[in-house]
Amino acid sequence: MAEFLMPTLGADMTDGTLVQWKKKEGDRITKGEIIAEVDTEKAAIDVESHFTGIIERLITRPGDKIPVGTVMAIIREEGRPTTSIVSPRTVTTPPAPPPPVHRTESGTAVPSQIGRFRMSPAARKLAAERGIDASTLQGTGPEGAITLDDIERATTATADIVKSVDPADRQARMRHTIAAAMARSKREIPHYYLSTTIDMGRAITWLKDSNEQRPVTERLLYGVLLIKAVALALRRVPELNALWKDDEARRRERIHIGTAISLRQGGLVAPALHDADRLSLSELMQNFQDLVKRARAGSLRSSELSDPTITVTSLGEQGVETVFGVIYPPQVALVGFGKVVERPWVAGGVVVPRPVLMASLSADHRVTDGHRGGLFLAEIDRLLQEPQSL
């Protein structure tokens, strides 16, 4: 028996509001599948299940605002018996034999299939019209079927939840969350800052050549080269790919790069590009574009918000040359990139114009020292001089 809890979808998130269940009792769910939509200070997030099994009970009701860590649902993990408290069925009681099939007064001779999703045609039509996901509703019709009334109620409930979170309110709350996280970071994390200027000439030439061979829709932005370089450099300096918990740094095996994305209405999110070190540039590009789109549409997944092991922020588009970033706790490092600018550059004793970029590292001095931080930036530089290796 596993408990599905209100997850933390970012530092300083204290509570969340269940918008709707994406599954209903009796449904099977696999690890990583979306179980619920939760409204946080930042956005409405699709939350994934950490368990595979059958949903035994949905405890939280849509619209409820509950603290992080509250049990929201009970999931019966596959192969494990259910408890008698939750359901009268236990392993010691064999399931009742199916009722004998013969003519009955109602004419319903076939025993109903267990777990079959029941929804009246009229309800199905209305749900489609209103964009209601009925699979999470509890039916009140004959044999538990979802009826028109159920859709009507769900429409009202969803409207209420959405109404309660008006954009201005959400923006204010997001500002509040960012404020809390950043204040905590500056209060608790002894930052140190390093920066280095990187010659982007080779990388940009390689990118240009590479893009010429790609269809327009698959062309790469140099930003993904930077992300890939950071991801690969972390393999060399794994101390920076860590989370600070209970007064110690815990290294993370997998490299999930939090990518800072500013939102049009203000504020920002930094959802994870999962396993960025293992993805090809094309895959990274695709995932990155998808992430930006969904971040702005407000449809990020819970894991994307809770998984990042380091953050990368690029402010080149804004004309910024150097970034002095504030670490997003519980991460222990943040990499900043400025814009690519043409500068006089000495190569082989000759001054030449080169496109260069300022890369900076903000790191937690409790975890690493300048020496390791310097190695890390140097590794990023080295990787960007061999763009084909990315």
């Binding site: 109602s106 004419g107 009246s120 045609p121 009229a122 019709g141 004959p142 009826t147």
Partner: protein, 324 residues
């Protein structure tokens, strides 16, 4: 408005028909001297004479066939068959002649015949007098099938049927003959193409005809006490079926119970149910339900007969089930 019995209403319709049109005549078992098994032609022999009120031998095939011949010959015969149970002896005449001649003659001949008969149970007259087979007749193209449930329809449908160029079968529910009702005198002839909404409601449609109408109305009253507003539809005409009115109601209430005193399997209720599925599936909020008779010959003992037939409490139960 006058209060009269269903029997008196049938009699009034017949008398008016006989008075209006000299081509109209009545024949059947015991319609003359005895005044009709259900006393629908009481006094007619004296009033209209033996030429127009004709007692026949106990041979349904013969006198229905004679009626067809008379209709072909330009008369307007009204044939009374004692009950639908006995009418099976005349089915060959009905199907192979009455319903088919216009088609077989390429439109040269039509059969303006009226056949009236009693149908239904509830009077403890045992299996061979109690079945409801109007649904069988409604299967036949080429005829009109009417099921008057009110006194106004009992009188008026006959008069409208006489205007039809093709055979019309009128099924009078035997249990209703003694029922009293308000006769709308202003319009002797009534429409025979449309179903009627006998009670308006928004939660569930109770669709029925004939004797079951009153059970459905009783069920609707009971449901109203529970806050369920049932709409009651009286089909009135089984063929050609007024599917438009049925679908309008089903689309409005999203739920339908079809009540039919016939046996469930292959019943007219099955046809109505199928047509609702075909025409209003996406408006349904629950499967269409049926309340029909048990699949047994209608029993003689009172308690068994009652148990075998649709009853208001069964209708209430079916409606409640649809509402979850």
């Amino acid at each position: 408005m006058t209060k009269i019995t269903y029997r008196e209403a049938v009699r009034a319709g017949l008398r008016e028909a006989l008075r209006r049109d000299p081509r109209v005549f009545l024949m059947g078992e015991d319609v003359g001297k005895y005044g009709g098994t259900y006393a629908c032609s009481k006094g007619f022999l004296d009033e209209f004479g033996p030429e127009r009120i004709r007692d026949t031998p106990l041979s349904e095939s013969t006198f229905v066939g004679a009626g067809i011949g008379a209709a072909l010959g330009g008369m307007r015969p009204i044939v009374e068959v004692m009950t639908v149970n006995f009418s099976l002896l005349a089915l060959d005449q009905v199907l192979n002649n009455a319903a088919t001649l216009r088609h077989m003659s390429g439109g040269q001949f039509n059969v303006p015949l009226i056949v009236r008969m009693a149908t239904g149970a509830g009077r403890q007259v045992a299996a061979q007098h109690s079945h409801s087979l109007e649904g069988w007749y409604a299967h036949i193209p080429g005829i009109t099938v009417l099921t008057p449930a009110t006194v106004t329809d009992a009188r008026g449908m006959l008069l409208s049927a006489l205007q039809e160029p093709d055979p019309v079968f009128i099924f009078e529910h035997a249990y209703l003959y003694s029922m009293e009702g308000e006769l709308e005198e202003s319009q002797p002839a009534v429409d025979i193409s449309r179903a009627a909404v006998r009670r308006s409601g928004k939660d569930v449609s109770l669709i029925t005809f004939g004797g079951s109408l009153w059970k459905a109305l009783a069920a609707a009253t009971q449901l109203a006490q529970e806050g369920i507003e049932a709409e009651v539809l009286d089909l009135r005409v089984l063929r050609p079926l007024d599917i438009g009115t049925i679908l309008t109601s089903a689309r409005k209430t999203h739920r339908a119970v079809v009540i039919d005193e016939a046996w469930r399997a292959g019943s007219f209720a099955a046809e109505v149910s199928a047509q609702i599925m075909e025409g209003a599936f996406y408006d349904l909020d629950a499967p269409v339900a049926r309340v029909c008779s048990e699949e047994v010959p209608i029993p003689y003992p009172k308690h068994l007969e009652e148990a075998a037939l649709p009853q208001p409490d069964k209708i209430v139960k079916a409606a409640r089930t649809l509402l979850g």
